[in-house]
């Protein structure tokens, strides 16, 4: 199988690698770029553990070829924390026990990160709709929703303080 030369921009860094055209983005991220934050849960687009951000939209990295993501700005869970430490969403997941086994957490946080940019002050219902593509098989949804709402409040307070 002839390999393709891929150029992918992930978390602001340009990566080059050789991959087969059939390789899904999730496999290239994990196995060729060693970005193992996005997880493989189901590989059938149900679970959302592989959620990454592509050009400002949440996408399941198991439903896109790496070749399709060339030229796009990709953000994975590794790119969410700032130089100063954890992102508020990560802090709030910790504080509100938004994770149990943690398997779904990278996808949950990457999705929540985009959701709160799309809608900085969501209602509980909007959080539940916005996060519906991410499954937690520990069924910790109550605390996940709480964590996202708390992160929204914290981010909004920080924005106000900065003004």
């Amino acid at each position: 199988m002839a390999k393709m030369h891929l150029k992918l921009t992930v978390n602001g860094t340009e990566h080059e690698c050789l991959a087969e055209p059939r390789e899904l983005l999730i496999h290239v991220l994990r196995e060729r770029l060693n970005l193992t934050g996005p997880h493989i849960g189901c590989e059938t687009s149900h679970c959302g553990a592989c959620t990454v951000d592509i050009d400002g939209q949440s996408v399941k990295a198991c439903t896109v070829l790496a070749a399709q993501a060339q030229g796009a700005a990709i953000t994975t869970i590794e790119g969410i924390a700032g130089p100063g430490g954890m992102h508020s969403i990560q802090e709030m997941f910790r504080e509100h026990h938004g994770l149990q086994c943690g398997f779904c957490t990278p996808g949950m946080i990457t999705r929540a990160w985009r959701l709160l940019q799309e809608n900085p002050s969501p209602t509980e219902e909007e959080v539940r709709f916005g996060m519906a593509g991410n499954l937690c098989r520990c069924t910790g949804y109550q605390n996940i929703v709480k964590a996202v709402l708390a992160a929204a409040a914290e981010l909004n307070a920080a924005k106000e303080a900065a003004q």
Binding site: M4, S45, V64
Partner: protein
């Protein structure tokens, strides 16, 4: 496997004419099927081709580009008759799937439980097909001819969906029943578009049901029964015999009997919602 994503529609059509390429939209049906093993074959990604994304008003209605995603459709400025289609757009999988899945992909995948199809039928939509031989249009009901079967020829692609200008005052609705609210395959779906006459009574309606027959079906007897009703009476006009065109199956998601019970109730609720929207 090879992968191509031409920017030029002519190159897309040339590749289709040459043969051997499988058309790729958002990939939300093709890629999950790979987890079971196997290769998808050479993929022709049409989402980069010019003119295939976005919605636009035309002289006779609305054109929705084939590669328009469900998220883009949900956000598009469309008249209230499209509210059912917009609700369907937000019921396809969940946000991540809506961000990549396309309207033409939903049509071409031709699942009996395709979320977009009942709403498109209720809008009287037509599918625009193109090949190097030219282009043609088919009503959605003539395009989707069976489970996983469409009228698409091997050298064609779907280029757009056309919706005729809705009648003045037309409103649309869509309801989906699943085991959970999102990220679920429908047990049943109903969609309706109705419009009032000058006297405020229903001048016409189109009602379609999905996931209760091999392809989504209209309910002509119910549509006839709605004509002349006051909007608030619509829900009371639903009768079991109107469901005759449906042929639901027993499967893992529900029994045929449950589906018929549910659809009758969903129709009443959808029509009540439509009456509210028409006030």
């Amino acid at each position: 496997m090879s992968y191509r994503a031409p920017h030029d529609l002519a190159q897309v059509l040339a590749a289709r004419a040459e043969g051997g390429w499988r058309v790729l939209g958002g990939g939300t049906d093709i890629f999950p099927a790979l987890a079971a093993g196997g290769a998808p074959g050479p993929l022709l990604d049409i989402t980069r081709a010019e003119g295939l994304c976005g919605t636009a008003e035309t002289g006779s209605g609305w054109r929705i580009g084939a590669a328009t995603t469900w998220s883009a459709l949900a956000r598009a400025a469309l008249p209230p008759a499209f509210d059912g289609l917009r609700a369907a757009a937000r019921a396809v999988g969940a946000v991540q799937i809506q961000n990549t899945g396309t309207i033409a992909g939903n049509l071409c995948n031709a699942s009996p439980a395709a979320d977009g199809i009942p709403a498109l039928i209720a809008l009287g939509a037509e599918v625009e097909l193109a090949s190097l031989r030219g282009s043609r249009r088919l009503a959605v009901e003539a395009f989707v001819i069976g489970p996983r079967r469409t009228a698409l020829e091997g050298d064609e692609i779907v280029t757009a969906v056309h919706v005729p200008t809705p009648a003045p005052g037309a409103r649309g609705v869509f309801l989906k029943l699943g085991a959970r609210a999102y990220q679920v395959i429908a047990i049943a779906m109903v969609s309706a578009v109705a419009w009032p006459g000058p006297d405020g009574r229903i001048a016409g309606a189109r009602v379609a049901v999905g996931a209760c027959s091999p392809v989504a079906r209209r309910l002509p007897a119910l549509e006839a029964a709605l004509a002349g009703a006051a909007p608030g009476e619509m829900a009371t006009r639903v009768a079991r015999e109107h469901l005759a065109p449906l042929a639901p199956i027993d499967d893992v998601r529900g029994t045929a009997g449950y589906r018929l019970e549910a659809v009758q109730e969903m129709l009443a609720r959808a029509l009540a919602q439509l009456a509210e929207a028409m006030r």
